[in-house]
């Protein structure tokens, strides 16, 4: 059973047989086409798109995409170039390719945004050629079997053709951009999709059985029976919930106003787009590690600035909580000097590493964030990872204040936050609160340190549970202590617990202000939230704090959900 992963573009689960969409051969042809053939192909494509537009219960986003493509079709410069090439003896197919190549190359050298529009333009080119060859329709097997479509790339028009085919249940692309129109289309139609799956064509052939799990970012090729039956059990629950959510809140996203704010964890641009699609209240944890890995030297301040600005402005004007580089443990880029340690989990990691061995990186990162913040309207919170001493916060604060200077407009818009993921940060949360605007409880590491259990350990990892009453008590202590000292301090929870549907009533009950959720889980968290009230949640969390072990906490919440008729996948841990 082969497993692959990529970038989750549109969350969901689907099962079906692989159908590989072949690339067309672009070799030139002998047939003599004239400019009249170009005009008639153009008309055919125009009619085709118009029919597509009227045949779909079409959303605004889709209409906009087609709208722009129609405009490209009528482009006078494009027509001029094709004509000139024909006059010079080039055959029509090559003339079309050459004219499109010219624009595609020009656009590829501009911005990220335009690079991702290239596929739209290529889509029109593809359609023109197909129209010339009388080959406009994609032949998708029309059996009753569910199909997972696999392709190298997909342009929006072919995507529309594909998603109107009933038996296409999911899409896997070898390439594909997170902000492409194709991605937007699939998300808005709720069709599960994973892009950037390297090696997909080596791993899969037609008719292989595929499980596309676009929640956990796994693709199973020819899975064993046990895996299939596990998915059969949960797929109905998941799909029912999704249906219900879509009915309640529509496909275009959510508009919510709950006692706590729902933010999103963001690792890359695909996460950001998904968070935007689901209308998250902000980015609760923007991880910056992606900028620092897989390279032999650290990114420059300018490079960081450009990326941060892009992320901030895409989410304007909502709050973004950006975490300083959080490295430690096993994976360390070559330019960071970290001696190997007997116990790296308790060693040089997070802010310790930045302050002791990488001050230049720390300063350049804060400078880049402040510069980017200056260009946008968001509130930006700089989050310090792995705080275990109050001094660490004071040192970062000094650096930050030096960089901001006396720029009044920034003082109110750039805030400081500390991660609470060590027992010392829990116990000193009141002291920390004096110095920061926000505390973000990272439950993954906090649970490990509170329980003194290494979750990677093969002998004790079964003892690791974020539903441990001790871990919940830690959250309770942080909220009570910090709010006592500073009433308006914001307390967030990030980490896996925040993405877990069963934890939602507990976290609300404990009085946190916001939770930061993995983007694919946003709908299910909204679904749970809509069915809770704050008093019940308080009562439930109070009970949970006084239980003995994690299983009892889980049982308590499960029974509560059954009583309230809240249907979530009952496979705890399977579905974070």
């Amino acid at each position: 059973m082969l497993q692959l992963k990529g970038t989750v573009i549109s969350p969901g689960i689907s099962l079906g047989k692989a159908f590989i969409l072949k690339e067309d051969n672009k070799a030139s042809e002998r047939t003599k086409y004239t400019i009249e053939d170009f005009y008639s192909a153009r008309n055919v494509v125009k009619n085709f798109i118009s029919t597509l537009m009227s045949s779909l219960e079409i959303q605004a986003a889709v209409r906009d995409i087609l709208d722009v493509q129609l405009s490209i079709l009528d482009d006078p410069e494009l027509e001029d170039q094709v004509k000139k090439l024909l006059d010079n003896g080039v055959d029509l197919i090559n003339a079309i390719h050459t004219a499109f190549d010219y624009y595609v190359n020009a656009l590829a050298n501009t911005s990220e945004y335009l690079r991702e529009r290239v596929i739209d333009i290529r889509g029109i080119e593809d359609l023109l050629i197909r129209a010339l060859r009388n080959n406009l329709v994609i032949n998708i097997p029309t059996s009753n079997e569910d199909i997972i479509l696999i392709a190298k790339e997909l342009d929006p028009i072919r995507t529309i053709m594909i998603i109107t085919t009933q038996n296409i249940k999911g899409i896997i692309l070898e390439q594909g951009g997170a902000t492409s129109h194709t991605a937007i289309l699939l998300r808005s139609r709720g069709i599960p999709a994973i892009f950037n799956v390297r090696g997909i064509f080596d791993a899969v052939k037609n008719n292989d059985y595929i499980i596309l799990d676009a929640y956990r970012n796994v693709i199973y090729v020819n899975p064993d029976n046990e895996t299939i039956s596990k998915y059969f059990n949960i797929i109905n629950i998941i799909n029912n919930i999704n249906e219900e959510i879509l009915k309640e809140i529509g496909r275009e996203g959510l508009d919510i106003n709950y006692p706590i704010r729902i933010m999103a964890n963001v690792n890359n641009i695909a996460d950001l787009e998904l968070a935007l699609h689901y209308n998250a209240n902000g980015v609760g944890l923007l991880r910056t590690e992606f900028l620092f890995f897989n390279r032999s030297y650290p990114p420059s301040e300018d490079e960081q600035f450009n990326v941060y600005r892009q992320y901030f402005s895409r989410f304007e004007p909502k709050t973004i909580i950006i975490r300083l580089l959080d490295i430690g443990g096993e994976k360390i880029p070559p330019y960071l000097r970290v001696p190997s340690e007997r116990n790296p989990q308790l060693g040089l990691r997070g802010i310790r590493l930045l302050l002791r061995n990488a001050r230049d990186i720390l300063i350049s990162q804060i400078r880049a964030i402040v510069r980017a913040a200056r260009e946008v309207k968001n509130t930006i919170v700089i989050l310090i990872p792995m705080v275990s001493f109050v001094n660490e916060v004071l040192e970062v604060k000094k650096i930050l204040n030096n960089i901001i200077g006396d720029d009044e407009s920034l003082v109110t818009r750039i805030k400081l936050g500390a991660m609470v993921e060590t027992p010392s940060a829990v116990l000193q949360s009141d002291v920390l609160a004096e110095h920061v605007d926000l505390l973000s409880i990272g439950t993954n590491d906090l649970t490990q340190y509170i329980l003194a259990v290494d979750r990677e350990s093969s002998t004790v990892n079964d003892m690791y549970s974020q539903f441990s009453p001790a871990a919940l008590r830690a959250i309770d202590i942080v909220v009570k202590n910090a709010k006592k000292i500073k009433k308006d301090i914001e307390i967030d929870v990030c980490g896996e617990l925040a993405s877990e549907p069963l934890a939602v009533p507990l976290l609300i009950g404990l009085g946190v202000d916001a939770i930061s959720v993995e983007p694919p889980n946003l709908p299910i968290i909204y679904y749970v939230l809509k069915r809770l009230n704050i008093n019940e949640a308080r009562e439930l969390s109070y009970k949970a704090l006084n239980l003995s072990n994690p299983d009892e906490v889980i049982e308590l919440v499960k029974n509560f959900f059954i009583k309230k008729n809240i249907k979530v996948p009952q496979v705890i841990g399977e579905f974070v």
């Binding site: 482009d75 410069e77 494009l78 624009y103 945004y113 402005s313």
Partner: protein
Amino acid sequence: MSNNIIIRVKILNKIGLHARPAARFSETCRKFKSKIIVKKNGQQANGKSLLDILKLNVVQGDEIEIEIIGEDAESAKNAILEIIDKINNGEIQ
């Protein structure tokens, strides 16, 4: 009688002269006989060509110069100013 009009405008909307704003702009230009040239930083584009305009990569805050040459330059100017207004107001997204 041929007219020659030059206007300078600043693009204020978030995505700049891309996607639908660019499509609407070029379609507006196509309605007129006049030659319409859009210039940014020494580069120029045919105002009637969406692809040409995209190539200029006009982003929020950019100033562009639009030169309109032809009999119907005056009415083209008015139509262009109107569409730029709509783009800048965010009416076309």
